[in-house]
Amino acid sequence: MTDAATLPPGRDVKPRLSRDDVMMRSWMIVIALYLVVTLVFPLYAMLSKSFSTYHFDLGQFEFQVSDDDGVFATDPVLASTLNDQLGVFGEADLRAGSDGRLPATKLFPDFSFRSSKMYRVRGTSDEAVYLVGSTRHSGTAWQELDSNTFRRVQMRPVSGTGFGNFVTYFSTPALSNSIKNSLVISTIATVLTVTLAFGFAYALNRSCLRFKGAFRIIAMAPILVPSLLPGIALVYLFGNQGMLKELLMGQSIYGPIGILIGSVFFTFPHAFLILSTALAISDARLYEAADSLKTSPWKTFWTVTIPGARYGIISATFVVFNLVITDFGLPKVIGGQFNVLAVDIYKQVIGQQNFEMGAVVSVVLLIPAVFAFAIDRIVQRRQVAQLSARSVPYEPKPQKGRDRVAMIYCSVIGVFIIGLLAICQYAALIKFWPYDLSLSLNNYQFDLMDGGGWGSYFNSIKLGLLTAIVGTGVVFFGAYLVEKANGFEMGRGFFQMVAMLPMAVPGMVLGLAYIFFFNNPANPLNAIYGTMAILVVCTVTHFYTVSHLTAVTALKQMDREFESVSASLKQPTMKLFRRVTVPVCLPALLDISIYLFVNAMTTVSAVVFLYSPKTALASIAVLNMDDAGDIAPAAAMGMMIFYTNAAARIIHLLVSRGLLTRTQAWRFR
C-alpha cells in the first residue's frame, strides 16, 4: 500500500473480466431479477393499491328539479353546492370503497317519491358515474326521471390517490383494534412458547434424559402440519362438544385461548430448534468454575446458561413472534370474534371485495413483521463464536432428581403434541361426531365436499415436488453465484439484501401483492395467473430466505481455492459447479428440497389468494372444508398432509444416508 503513493497517476487497474465472470454476473442478474419481479414489484403494486382511494366527487353531478307540474323553471344545481348548503355529507361520508354508493335523494330534504316533481340528473364530466337502480349511466347528457325513479339514483365514487384508506382504517375501531389484538396475542404466545421450548431444549441438552431421539422427533412433528390443524384438534377437545370441555371452566376455546394453545403447538418446533442449537454449544469450563466457586445451581443458570444462550433466546423470540403475528390459518379456525390482522386481510379481500382496505391492513401487518425480522438479523450478525479452541464441550452427568423432572416435563409436552395430532386422526375416522361414534371412512370422500376433493391433495404433492425441484435449483445456483463470483461487490450486496427480504414479508401480504401485480392485464406475466406456475413461484419466493441461508452456509464451508484451481486448469466454472460443488453440497441441497416440500404442503397464507379451481391445494381444502362446517373431513385432509410430509421426511432421511455413504465418503476419512 505504501507504494501506491509513488505510482504514477493513471487509471485504476482492473482485471479483465473473463468469460466465466461475465457469465456468472449475468446469471446473478437473472436470479436477482427473478426476485425483483416476484417480490419487489408485487409489493410495490400492493403499496400503491393501498394509496388508491375512492371518494365521491360531488362537483361531478348536476341536478335540476321541476315544479309540481313538471316544468323545469329553476337552474341546474351542482351536488356540491347542495351539500355546502345542507351539510348532509361530512368528509367521512365522502370517503368510499370501490363499491360505494351515495343516494342522490339525501341532497333533497323535502324529497318525496310520491310527488309529481320531475328530476334531471347528469354528470359534469365523462368520468362521473351514477346508477339508476342497477343500471349504470355516465356522461354529461341529461336524464329525466320522475320522482319515484329518482329515488333510485345512486352516485358512484371516483378513484384517486391519497391517505384516505389509512384514515378510514384508523378511524374504524372494528379494524384498528386488530393491531392491539395481534400484538398482545403474539407477545403472550411468544413468551409461552419460548419458555416451554427452552425447558424442553434444556432437558434434552443438559440432562441425561432417556429417549432423547424420540423426544426430538416428537418436538419437530408440528412442522409437518398446517397451522390450521391444531385449531381443529382444539375444537374437538374443548369445543362445546369437546372431550375435555370441563377443563376450560366455562371459558370458550373460540378466541384468544384457542389461538394461544394452537400457536404454542405450531411454533414449538421453530423455537425448539433454535434454542437447542444455542444450548448444545456451551463451555464446560464455565460450569466447573461456577462449581468450584460454590455458586448455587440457580445462580449458575442465570449467570452462565442464560447469557450463553442469549442470542438463541432473542432469535427464537422474534421468529416465534413473527410466525404468530403473520399466521392466518389458526385464528381463522379458532379465533371466534377475536380479530387479528392476518384474518382481517382475508375478510377484507375475500368477504368484502375491498382490495384497497386489504392492502392497507397488509401494510400495517408488514410493519411489525419487518421490525421483528430486522432485530433478528441484527442479533444473528452479532452472534460470534462462543466456543474457542480451548473450550471443553459440556457433558451432562446423570442426576436422578433432575433427570426425572426432565422426563416428566418432556413427556407432558410430548403428550400435548401427539395428543393434538391423535385427536385429529380420531375425529377424521368418526362417522358423525358426537351422535354416531362408529368408525367409518366417510370423511375421506373429499370429492363430495367443498375444497377441491382428492384432486387438491395431488395438486399439493405436485406443488411440493415442483417447488422442491425448481426452488432448490434457483436458490442454490443463486447462492453459489453470490458466494463464489469475483468482484462485483455492489451487485452481490444487493443480491444478499433482496434474498433476505422474503422472510420479512408475511404470506398473506405476499399473496395479495401477487393478485395486484399478476392479475393486471397490462402485465406480460399475466398468463401465469391462475396456474400452477404462480403457486410455485409464490411458494419459492415465500420460503426463499431460509433456503438461501442454508445454501450459503454449505457453500461457505467450501474453500474458494476450488475456483482458483479450476481457473488455472482453464476449466469453466460451470463444470466445476456441476462436478464438484453440487456433489459436495448434496446434503444441503437435500435439506433445502425437503424444507421447500414440507412448507409447500402446509402453507395456506400466500396461496389462499392465488389458487384457482384447477389448482386447489390440500391445505386450502382444510381451510375451506372447515369454513363450510365440514370439520371432520378437514381434520382428515390435514392428517393426509401430515402423513405425506412424514413419509417425505423418511424418504429424505434414507436418501441422505445413501448418498452420504456413496458421495461423501471423503468426509469420514
Partner: protein
C-alpha cells in the same frame, strides 16, 4: 424446402378445419352452485348439447363475486350460472353483463327475471334463510324451540346462537337485509342489537352455523333451509324452523358476461338454464324454482317456506350493501369480546 413448408401449411389448415367440424365450444362458467351438484348439472346440459363443454369455476358466493369484480377489465368467465341475484346486480351496475332474453323466459315467475328488457340476468331457483335447531342439544340446555325471529331475544338462548358474518357470507347479508326490510331500518338495527347479546360468535360461511348445529356444537344456527334439509337427511337431530315474521331469500341466477367470445354457446346455456328440464334438475335439491308450477316438494324442506318469503328488494339490498356492512361492522365486529 418451399414445398415442405407449403405442405405443412396445408396440413395445418386441414387440421384446423377438421377440428373446427368436431370441435366443442368450451364455456368457462363461474358458479356458486353446491359442489355436489356440478357434475349432475353439466351432465344434464350435455344430454341436450353435447357440443358445448362446461368448465366450472366454483367457489362460495363472496369469492366468486370478488373474482368477477377483480377481473372486470379482463374477464375470464363466459357465463355466470348459479350466483346470487344480488351479486348479478352488482355485476350489472359495473356494466359487466350482456342483456339477453333466453328462450322460454316468459314462463318464469317475474320475480326471477331482471326488470330491464331484455333482462341482464334470469333466476333459476331460490334459497331462503331458516333456523337450524338441534333438538338433542336444546333439550340438554333446557331450551324451547323459537317460532319467530323475535323469540331469539329470549335470555335463555344466550350463548346458544351462531350466525354468519354478513361481511363474508351471502347468507349472513341476506338475514341482515331481510331484518332491515321487514322491521324497518331503525327497528331492524335494534333487533340485531338484542340478538347480538345472545350470539356466541359469527362464522365466516353461511352453511357453517347449520353444520355446527347439526353436530351439536351449538343448539341454534341461523343458516339457510337447503343446508338444514341436507343435514337432516344425513341423520342429524335437526329441526328446520321458518320464523313466523318471514325469511330473507335470494336466487341462484345466471347471466352472460359482456364481451364473451362464445356468445352463441353462452346463449344456448342460458336458454337451457330456464328450460323445464333444468327446472326439474334444480328441484332435486331446491323446493322453490323459477317456474313455480313445476315445483315438487323436496323431502325435509320445512313447510310453508314459500309463503314465508318476504318481498325482497334486491336493488335496495345491492345499493345499500356497502353502507349496511359498514354499519354492521362498527356495531358488532371486533367490539364483541368472546365470552
Amino acid at each position: 424446402m418451399k414445398t415442405t413448408s407449403k405442405t405443412l401449411t396445408i396440413a395445418a389448415a386441414a387440421a384446423i378445419a377438421a377440428t373446427g367440424v368436431f370441435a366443442e365450444t368450451e364455456l368457462t362458467v363461474y358458479t356458486a352452485f353446491e359442489a355436489e351438484d356440478l357434475k349432475r348439472y353439466a351432465d344434464t346440459f350435455n344430454e341436450a348439447h353435447p357440443d358445448i363443454k362446461i368448465n366450472w369455476v366454483r367457489d362460495s358466493t363472496g369469492i366468486v363475486t370478488a373474482k368477477l369484480l377483480a377481473e372486470k377489465d379482463n374477464p375470464q368467465a363466459d357465463v355466470v350460472w348459479g350466483l346470487a341475484a344480488t351479486s348479478l346486480l352488482l355485476l350489472k351496475s359495473e356494466d359487466m353483463l350482456e342483456p339477453y332474453a333466453p328462450k322460454g323466459v316468459e314462463a318464469l315467475d317475474p320475480k326471477f327475471v331482471d326488470s330491464d328488457n331484455p333482462p341482464y340476468w334470469v333466476g333459476q331457483d331460490a334459497w331462503a334463510g331458516a333456523i337450524c335447531y338441534n333438538t338433542v342439544e336444546a333439550e340438554k340446555n333446557g331450551l324451547t324451540p323459537p317460532t319467530s325471529w323475535k323469540d331469539l331475544h329470549d335470555p335463555m338462548y344466550k350463548g346458544h346462537i351462531i350466525m354468519p358474518n354478513p361481511n363474508s357470507s351471502g347468507t349472513g347479508f341476506l338475514d341482515v337485509s331481510s331484518w332491515l326490510q321487514m322491521f324497518g331500518e331503525e327497528a331492524g338495527w335494534d333487533y340485531m342489537d338484542g340478538l347480538h347479546e345472545n350470539i356466541a360468535r359469527y362464522t365466516h360461511s353461511g352453511s357453517k352455523p347449520c353444520k355446527l348445529a347439526a353436530s351439536g356444537e351449538i343448539p341454534i344456527g341461523i343458516s339457510f333451509a337447503f343446508r338444514g334439509a341436507k343435514s337432516k337427511a344425513a341423520g342429524a337431530p335437526l329441526e328446520v324452523i321458518v320464523p313466523s315474521e318471514g325469511v330473507g331469500w335470494d336466487m341462484e341466477a345466471g347471466g352472460i358476461i359482456a364481451g364473451t367470445a362464445n356468445l352463441e354457446a353462452a346463449q344456448t346455456l342460458l336458454d337451457f338454464a330456464v328450460s323445464t328440464k333444468a327446472m326439474e334438475m334444480y328441484n332435486v335439491g331446491y323446493a322453490i324454482i323459477g317456474i313455480p308450477s313445476l315445483a315438487k316438494p323436496v323431502e325435509h324442506f320445512p313447510d310453508g317456506l314459500k309463503d314465508a318469503l318476504i318481498e325482497n328488494d334486491f336493488e335496495w339490498a345491492a345499493n345499500n350493501r356497502a353502507a349496511i356492512l359498514a354499519e354492521w361492522q362498527s356495531r358488532y365486529d371486533g367490539k364483541s369480546d368472546p365470552k
